[in-house]
């Protein structure tokens, strides 16, 4: 029962991304061509509202439903891991036309071959776990 709310939030997320066509391979390629404002509007408005939400939570010391202060973990400072890792991710994002969220959502549209992408993503995660100490971070 305590997990039901996360299922509900996932449904909202799934409908939003699907109705916004964020899950479309074509839209991602169009974004990388800078041919449409659509994806930038989506990410941009989410970020602007997100900044307002985070600032509000911090300044008003908003508590979570369990009564604990909502805190944010600052990311470790570095350039290499974010730039190199990010570039690997971007290569895959354009190739698959899907980042991790849409990968799952596309299953709901009956695109079974996306399971190959998810399998690849699991493999990539696993290989990162194996190689992580050998990679620059």
């Amino acid at each position: 029962m305590k997990y039901l709310k996360f299922l509900g939030i996932g449904v909202i997320f799934g409908i939003a991304l699907t109705k916004g066509q964020v899950v479309s391979w074509y839209r991602i390629i169009e974004m990388f061509y800078f041919d449409s404002f659509h994806m930038y509007g989506i990410i941009g408005s989410a970020v602007v509202l997100g900044i307002i939400i985070v600032q509000y939570i911090k300044s008003k010391k908003v508590k979570s439903i369990e009564g604990q202060l909502i805190t944010f973990n600052p990311k470790n400072k570095s350039v290499a891991r974010y730039l190199i890792g990010g570039t690997f991710f971007g290569l895959g994002w354009a190739m698959a036309g899907a980042c991790p969220g849409p990968m799952y959502l596309l299953l709901g549209r009956g695109y079974w071959l996306i399971l190959l992408v998810i399998f690849g993503a699991l493999l990539g995660t696993f290989v990162y776990g194996l190689l992580r100490h050998k990679l620059p971070h």
Binding site: F13, F32, D35, S64, I65, Y82, G85
Partner: protein, 186 residues
């Protein structure tokens, strides 16, 4: 009702993503979808091979439920909320895609030449696995994906997330402009 069945504009979808992030924060969780991949690896026993998968992954079960809800949301949208399943793209994008050999551009959400099981070849299987591999490997290397860095990280004004997003675009643009025309599997 017509508004519901048409593709939703950015100013509806963006705020709903922000709402998703807020609700997860309110329930004491962090919005980051690629974390589910690490959870799945750990649940499958990957800690036998790397201590990276030896962590409190059971506390992240909610995230698997969350993406399960995402699958249901994708299904609801497909079945009940779409007048048709076409994608109206910028004409310059369509032209570029035609040059890459794509056909029926925008007639469905994904190109059938890559994602239709009836057109499956060894090439498409390899293409899709490599694509997924880069996403999974890159997301963990960078410590997050679009939700973790581009949304949550930027919302919290994290410089590392901005660097990661710059990386996303370096990789995405290199793939789109220089690599895709040579490796599309058809």
């Amino acid at each position: 009702m017509d508004f519901i069945l048409q593709p939703w504009p950015w100013y509806v979808v963006g705020p709903l993503i922000a709402l998703t992030m807020f609700l997860l924060l309110y329930f004491g969780k962090e919005f980051g979808v690629s974390n589910t991949l690490r959870v799945a690896c750990s649940a499958a026993g990957a800690q036998k091979f790397s201590e990276f998968f030896h962590w409190d992954w059971r506390s992240q079960k909610w995230n698997l439920i969350f993406v399960g809800g995402g699958v249901i949301g994708g299904f609801i949208s497909y079945m009940f909320l779409e007048a048709d399943h076409t994608v109206a793209l910028a004409s310059s994008t369509v032209e570029n895609m035609r040059d890459m050999g794509l056909t029926n551009i925008g007639e469905s959400y994904l190109p059938s030449q890559i994602f239709d099981p009836e057109e499956i070849t060894v090439g498409t299987v390899a293409y899709l696995i490599v694509a997924g591999f880069l996403v999974g490997f890159g997301a963990r290397y960078a410590g997050g994906c679009t939700s973790g860095h581009a949304i949550s990280g930027l919302a919290n004004l994290q410089l590392p997330s901005l660097i990661a997003v710059i990386g996303f675009f370096i990789g995405g643009m290199a793939m789109t402009y220089y690599i895709l025309p040579h490796i599309l599997p058809f």
